[in-house]
Each structure stands twice: as structure tokens, then as C-alpha cells.
Subunit: 243 residues, 2 copies
């Protein structure tokens, strides 16, 4: 039984279109590789109440929740407050992180900098050699920063902790057939191999194919057989390649 | 009072990281330019029940809702069923769209192709010269396809209908100051200009600045004054530029 996950992407800059969120795609790929099923993503603004409500719903219905954004030093960075509220815990300051900040900024350290040492009471502070600051973890919720480079660094760090050896496998078949032309065939394949997730994606104005059919499962043999069935029943003249 | 909006992005391929969603960013920018406030985005899988539940929550709490994905001809394209269920209406087939499909595919038309003529009973079918198929609109919900090129084409078409002449304005100030160093200044500016949304974004390893401060509002004068206040109080040696 694979673990389920959700993501809460926090930031007015994403909702106003100022910044395109790339963390969801990075996270989705990483979780897929770990055999963890990302089931739901929510994007909300920088408001304590929104974060509290969204997180409360997500954390009680998924094994793992990842948040992105809102953990910097400015007035609109309210994720820690929202996470603490979702768990009904006060915000406290980590003496250990405060020390790191003092060391890093020296005399320039302001109250704003020290806000980055805030965490929900009882949270864990995960450290690693690579990331500049520890990652706040509370029960099943991982609090990650919005800056993509740091988000990616931190999630890559977390992979070791999350890895339980489950894996998903994938194959893809590319064809010149239209999606509608092979829809009933795909439905038969999906019924014949219930453990395989069958997807089809139209490439609008593609160079060499019209439809990409994907097969995902934790059972590599079932994938192989499902892809075989497609290739055998496809019009051979329209088959492009298999990956 | 600006209108509120939400987006429901539908597709297993996004949750499994196979495809990076670009429609949210496109929609967010477009809505911002129209003065419509995008407040919440949800990504869910290709399941009728998930779509029904998510859409039901979104449509009752936002003025406008846009869905993306799940409107093709294959077995996993269940958005129309989900939308119909959210409104408690049956799925019916549009005779007009059926005719277009018959004309387009001729003898090759299959039942799978005709699925694309399905719509919730009582929905409107918006046509335009540019897009290949009409757009399903039901009350405040706009049902758009997931393929980015067609999503963008259709949303661009919709802009005329959505435009009520409200606009948001933006300015940005770039500085070498760290976000933490100017956090209390930004908080003072945000308090002094409550109609202005003040945001700050760290560029990790940027070429020529460390923090970008943005000002958004429907009041261009307030933006001007807020940005002036920042530039005046910033360390002049660290000021980079204003846009």
C-alpha cells in the first residue's frame, strides 16, 4: 500500500501570477520516484487562517504533507504561524537556530532575521550539511521554503528519510493515432490491467507523434504486458516508438 | 470590490510529475491583468468524486471558477461528469457539437470522439473563431482543456467576456539589501498603505540584486507613494533599480 501525500503551496506571488510555481512539479516527480502518491495540491495566499484551514484538512487525510513558501523574515511570511495554529500549538523560538542566525549575521542580525528561528512547539528541526537552515518537521508535515533552489536542495535531502524502497515504474508508447481513435482500446487495456494507471496525452503540433500513452504501476511486469497489448493492437503504420 | 476566482487543475499526470502544469501561471497572470483576484488553486486527480467535491467547495465561495484538464475523449477524461455532479445535473449530449465532430472526423468518428459533445444539462457552449471546440460554461464555472496551447487560446478568448475594466497596477524595486534587513521597513510601508499589497522575493544567486520588492494595488497613486517611501528609506548604496 503506497503512502499518500499532499502539498500546500503558499504565496500571493503565485496567485497573482508574478512567480510561476515550479516546486509542485519537482515534488511530484520526486514523490513518484519514491512510490509516494501525491493526491492533492492546494495553492493559498499568505494568510494564517487560510494556511491553518488548508493544512488541517490535508494533514488529517494524507500520510505526508509538504508546504512550500512563507518561511522568510518578512511580514508576509506567516507559514510557521499557520502550521502552529493547525496543530493548536504556540510558536516558540529555537535557541539552536537562533545561535546559527547570530553566528551567520553577527551584529547585522535583526528581529526579522530571528523570526526564521520560530517553529511550532515540539517541532523537529532537521539539519543537513547542504541546506543553509534546518527544515521544520511537525508530525507528518514538512515545512519547506518557496525559493526553488532551496526547496529542491531540502527535498533532495529528505529523500533518504522518506525512502522505504517502494518504487513506481513507467513506460510510454508514442503513436500517430489520435486520442479518440484509441480511446476504446485504452479502456480495454485499463480494464485488463487494473494495477496499471493508463494515461494518454495529446501533443498539439508535435514533431513526430500525436498521442503519448503512459503506463504507471508498482508492478513492472503488468506494465510490460499492458504496453505489449497496446503495441500489438495499434495500427502498426502509426506506431512511433516505445520508451 | 474585485471579483474572486479559483482554479481546479485536474489530472493524474500533474500529480505524478509527468507533466508540469503551466496553466495556473498563465491563468494567474491573465486574471491579475483583469483585476480578478485568484484566491485558491486545487490540483486533483481524474476522479469524478474528487472533482465533484472540490468544485462544489470552490464554486460556492468564489465568483468565478476555472477548471483545466480532463475533457478529452479517453476513459480518464471525467471532468464533465464531475462538473455535472457538482451541479446535481445529468450529462447530456450537445447536438450542435455532435454535428461539428461528425463534420470534422467524418466516418472515422467514434463514440470516444462524441464524448467531447457531452456537457452538463443547461450548460452554455461558448464558441469562437479561434478555438477548435466550444467552451463549456455552467453558471460561474468555465471548463477549459488541459493542453496548454488550447487552454491559453480559450482563456484569451474569454478575456473579453470577463473584462469589466478593473485593473491592478504593479511596481517593483530591486535592491542589494537582504530581505531580513528591510523586513521592518516593508512592514511599516504595508501599514502606511493598506490598499497596497507589498511582497518581497529573494533571488538566490542573482546577478544584480538580492531582493525584489513588489507593490500591487488597484490604486496607482498609492503604489507610487509606497514605492517612493521604500526608495527614500533604503540604503542608497544598495538600491539597484525601479520598474
Amino acid at each position: 500500500m503506497s503512502r499518500s501525500a499532499a502539498a500546500l503551496i503558499i504565496g500571493n506571488e503565485i496567485l497573482s501570477g508574478k512567480i510561476a510555481d515550479t516546486n509542485t512539479a519537482f515534488l511530484a516527480r520526486g514523490l513518484f520516484e519514491l512510490g509516494i502518491e501525491l493526491r492533492r495540491v492546494v495553492v493559498c495566499g499568505d494568510e494564517v487562517d487560510s494556511i491553518r484551514l488548508e493544512l488541517d484538512a490535508l494533514r488529517s487525510t494524507h500520510d505526508l504533507v509538504f508546504t512550500s513558501g512563507g518561511v522568510g523574515p518578512t511580514h508576509d511570511d506567516v507559514t510557521i504561524e499557520g502550521v502552529a495554529a493547525a496543530f493548536g500549538r504556540p510558536v516558540v523560538r529555537s535557541a539552536a537556530v537562533e545561535k546559527v542566525i547570530r553566528h551567520y549575521y553577527g551584529d547585522r542580525a535583526t528581529e526579522a532575521h530571528f523570526r526564521m528561528a520560530n517553529m511550532p512547539e515540539g517541532a523537529e528541526m532537521l539539519r543537513s550539511a547542504e541546506a543553509p537552515w534546518p527544515t521544520v518537521v511537525i508530525e507528518n508535515v514538512y515545512v519547506l521554503p518557496g525559493v526553488p533552489e532551496i526547496f529542491e536542495l531540502k527535498f533532495t535531502d529528505l529523500r533518504k528519510r522518506l525512502d522505504e524502497g517502494h518504487e513506481f515504474y513507467s513506460q510510454a508508447v508514442y503513436t500517430q493515432s489520435g486520442e479518440g481513435d484509441i480511446a476504446s482500446l485504452l479502456e480495454r487495456i485499463a480494464s485488463a490491467f487494473p494495477s496499471v494507471m493508463v494515461g494518454s496525452y495529446v501533443k498539439w503540433r508535435a514533431e513526430d507523434y500525436r498521442t503519448k500513452v503512459t503506463f504507471d504501476s508498482d508492478d513492472p511486469e503488468a506494465i510490460q504486458q499492458a504496453a505489449d497489448m497496446l503495441v500489438e493492437e495499434l495500427d502498426p503504420a502509426l506506431f512511433v516508438r516505445r520508451e
